[in-house]
Subunit: 434 residues, 2 copies
C-alpha cells in the first residue's frame, strides 16, 4: 500500500520533508510507502536545493488538495491565508492534514478541529510547537492518564538565543538582536518572536491539548523581551537565576460546571539555576509537563530548523499512514490521535493569579528606604523572600526585591504604593520569578 503526499510549500521545511521522502533507507519502513504526488510552489522557475520531477510542481495549491492521488495534505507554506482555507478545503475533500503552522492552529484551531471531526479526518500538528521535539504526541498519547497541573516551556528559539547571549556575555538586547538577525536566527521584523506572540501561539496549542479544551488566543497575557535590560539579567545571575522567556499554562481548579480554569501567560521569568529549564540555552527549546501522577517530565531539543521540523512533519504523516493499516481510509478516528476537545476551558482573571515577582527600584540612597518599601508590601500582605541594595552612588541606589508567591492584585496594589513613595525614583523593572 502506498500513500500519496501533497505538499503545500517547498521552503526550508517543505524541502526537508521532500528530502526525507526521497531517501527512505535506514528510516522506518513505512517511510518507503509514502509517495510525493504533487507540490505547490510560488514560482516554478526558482532553483531548488533538491531535485524533484518538474511534473510534480504546480503553482495552484488547490490542485494539490484536490489531486485524487493525494491522500494526505502537508501544509508548510505558513501564514494565515491561504493556509487556513487550503486546510479546510483538504478536510472537505476527506483528506487528513499535517501542518507546521502554529499561527493558523492557535487562531483557527477550533474551527479546523470541528471540520476534521465532522469529516472523520486527522489534522496533526507536531511540527507547530518545539520543532523536532516530540511534545504534541506525548501530550496526546503518553500523558493521557494524568491530571495536568502545569505546562511550562522555553518555546521560542530566537528569544532564548538572545537571552543566552545576554546572560553569558552581559551583552545588550539590541546588540544581540542585531547579531541574531545577521545569523538568520531572527527575522528582519522580529516582533512575533521578541514580543512573545509566537510563544503565545504555541502555549495556546499546548494548553488546548494538555487540558482538553481551547483557550482564547488573543486573551493570553503576553510580555516579550524587547524591554529587558542587561542589568536585570546580571542581577538575576548574582541572585542565582537565569532569565528565560517562559510560556506557562497552569490549572487553577475547576468551576462548579466542570469548566477548567487556566492561568496561561508568556513573560520573561527568573528561573533558579538548578531548575531543569535554566540550562536550556541557545536556540534549543524545552517543555516541562507536571502532572498527577507522573510528576515532572521534560522534553528538550532543537526548537526550529528545516531538519528537526521536517522530522516532526513526517512523524505525523507516518502516524496517519500507520493508523490507515488498522481500518482503512473509512475507519473511525483514534480519539487520542484526533485529540478533540473534551471539556470547556477558560482563562482566569490575571488579577487573582499568584506569582513570585522580581522588582528593581531606583531610589534615593537614604537610611530607611528599605523599611518603607517593606512596609508597603506588608500592608498588602505581600511576603518578601529577599531585598537587596545593589548599587549606591551619587545619592541614588538600586534595590531589588524578590517576593514569595503572592496574588497579582495585591502585588500591584503594593507596587502602586511603592511607586508613590518620595524615596522611589522609578520602578525600573518588574519580572516574574519561578
Amino acid at each position: 500500500m502506498t500513500i500519496g503526499i501533497g505538499l503545500l510549500g517547498l521552503g526550508t521545511v517543505g524541502a526537508g520533508v521532500a528530502a526525507i521522502l526521497s531517501a527512505p533507507a535506514g528510516r522506518h519502513p513505512l517511510v518507503d510507502q509514502l509517495r510525493l504526488q504533487r507540490v505547490a510552489v510560488r514560482d516554478l522557475s526558482r532553483p531548488r536545493p533538491l531535485e524533484l520531477d518538474p511534473a510534480l510542481l504546480t503553482t495552484d495549491p488547490e490542485a494539490v488538495v484536490q489531486d485524487p492521488a493525494v491522500d494526505i495534505v502537508v501544509e508548510v507554506m505558513g501564514g494565515l491565508e491561504p493556509a487556513r482555507s487550503l486546510i479546510l478545503s483538504a478536510i472537505a475533500a476527506g483528506k487528513s492534514v499535517v501542518t507546521a503552522n502554529k499561527a493558523v492552529i492557535a487562531r483557527h484551531g477550533q474551527e479546523i478541529a470541528a471540520a476534521a471531526a465532522a469529516r472523520g479526518v486527522y489534522v496533526l500538528i507536531e511540527a507547530a510547537v518545539g520543532g523536532g521535539i516530540p511534545i504534541i504526541e506525548p501530550l496526546k498519547q503518553s500523558l493521557g492518564a494524568n491530571r495536568i497541573q502545569r505546562v511550562s516551556g522555553i518555546i521560542n528559539g530566537t528569544t532564548n538565543y538572545i537571552l543566552t547571549r545576554m546572560a553569558d556575555e552581559g551583552a545588550l538586547y539590541g546588540t544581540v538582536l542585531a547579531d541574531a538577525q545577521a545569523l538568520g536566527y531572527a527575522e528582519a521584523d522580529p516582533a512575533a518572536d521578541v514580543e512573545g506572540g509566537d510563544a503565545a501561539d504555541k502555549i495556546a496549542i499546548l494548553a488546548g491539548l494538555a487540558y482538553g479544551g481551547g483557550v482564547e488566543r488573543s486573551a493570553i497575557p503576553t510580555e516579550g523581551i524587547s524591554g529587558l535590560q542587561a542589568r536585570d539579567v546580571s542581577y538575576a545571575d548574582q541572585l542565582g537565576f537565569r532569565v528565560k522567556l517562559l510560556a506557562v499554562a497552569q490549572s487553577e481548579g475547576t468551576d462548579p460546571d466542570g469548566t477548567e480554569q487556566l492561568d496561561v501567560r508568556v513573560h520573561p521569568t527568573l528561573v533558579p539555576k538548578d531548575h531543569p529549564l535554566a540550562g536550556v540555552n541557545g536556540v534549543n527549546n524545552a517543555i516541562l509537563v507536571e502532572g498527577d501522577p507522573v510528576g515532572r517530565v521534560m522534553f528538550y531539543g532543537p526548537g526550529a530548523g528545516a531538519g528537526p521540523t521536517a522530522s516532526a512533519v513526517v512523524a505525523d504523516i507516518l502516524n496517519i499512514a500507520g493508523i490507515r493499516q488498522v481500518g482503512g481510509p473509512s475507519a473511525g478516528l483514534d480519539p487520542l490521535l484526533a485529540a478533540g476537545s473534551w471539556r470547556r476551558c477558560r482563562l482566569v482573571d490575571p488579577a487573582v493569579t499568584r506569582h513570585r515577582n522580581y522588582l528593581r527600584l531606583q531610589t534615593t540612597d537614604q537610611a530607611g528606604v528599605i523599611g518603607r518599601i517593606g512596609s508597603c508590601f506588608g500592608q498588602e500582605e505581600v511576603s518578601i523572600q529577599s531585598i537587596v541594595q545593589f548599587q549606591a552612588s551619587g545619592g541614588e541606589a538600586e534595590i531589588v526585591v524578590i517576593t514569595h508567591e503572592v496574588q497579582e492584585a495585591r502585588f500591584r496594589a503594593a507596587l502602586t504604593a511603592i511607586a508613590a513613595l518620595p524615596d522611589v525614583k522609578a520602578v525600573a523593572a518588574c519580572l516574574r520569578t519561578l
Copy 2:
C-alpha cells in the same frame, strides 16, 4: 464502549494503576471507559492501600488472563516467570498486553513480539524504560522519520542517586549505597542496579526500537559502578566532568546485507558538565536521542516510582483503547504501535569500537614518567587530550590521562605497554569519556 482490564500484580505499580482507573475525573475521557475486571494477587488477605471490590481479587493469574471480560492484560508482577508465560498465554487468548517488565522484554522480547504479531495483538512497554518518561512511544511514533545515530541515557535511578551524592558530597560508594538502601532507593541486593544489568536490559529494549531489530542482551558489554572510587569522581569534577552510568546504543554502519551494526554498552562515563545529561541528578532519568534529521532531543523525568510508572502503564492501555475505536478488536495492527522488527541488527566487536577514555595511573614521582606514558600512547597512535599529574607524595604520583576518540583495541594495546612500564605501579582506574 468499555474496555475490561485485568491486572496481574497489585504491588506499588499495580496499585498505582488501579488508583488512576478508579478516579478518572480530570484525566482523558477515555480513562473513564476502562473497567478493572480482575486482579491477580499473591495473598488475598494482605491489607491494600486502596479499596477494591474483594470479588475482583484472585490468586490465580491465569483466571485473569482467561476472563472473557478482560480485554487487555496488564502485567506488573515483575520477574521472569510466571510473567513470561502469562504474557504468552494472554497473547494466545487474543488479548493485548501492557507490561512494565523490562527483564522479560529484554530477554524474551523477540519471542513475545513474534507471538503478538502472529495473533494480531499489541504488547506495549512504555513503563519498562524510564518510568513515567514518554520514551518508548516517541521512539516508535515520533522519530520514525529519522536515521538514529545514537541513543544514550541515564536509565537507572539507583545508580544516578548514588553518583549524584558521590559527586556532591565527595562521599564513598559504600556509604551512599547503604544510605540508598535505608531510603528505599536501592534494593537489599543491589546487584542488578549497581552492576549495570538493569540499565543493560533497558538499553537492549531502546536499541531494538530505535534500530528496528533485536540485539543479544547477554552480549552487551556491561560495567557497573561498584568499583568506582570517590577519587575519580573528584578528579573528573576538577577536569570539568560529572561521572554518570550511561547506557549507549550507537550505529556503526550497515553491513552489505543490510544488517545494522550497533555498539551497545553500559559503563560509568565522564560527561562534560555542559552536556544535557550532566545535569540529570538524583533518581531522575534522561534519554538523549540523536538522529538525522532531528538532531538531538532529550526526554527527562522520574525514572521510577508508583505514580510515574502507573502513568506509563495507563498510557499504553489508552493507546490500545484508542486504536480499538478505529477498527474494532479484529482490525489490523498499526505498524508503528506494534513496532515489529524491520531489519537485522548485530553487536559489533567491542575491539573495533571507538571511544574517549579516562585513565588514572599510580606511578613513581620521577622526571620523564609522563613522557614515557605519552610514548606508549604514541606508538599505538592513541591521541591524548590531556595528561595531568594530580598528587605527588612519598615518591609516588597520580597521573590522569584523557584520550581523544580512539579505537578500543589500540587503547588496550597502549594500556598493556603502560602497565608494563617500571614507573607505573598500577592502572588504578579506567573509565569512558563522552
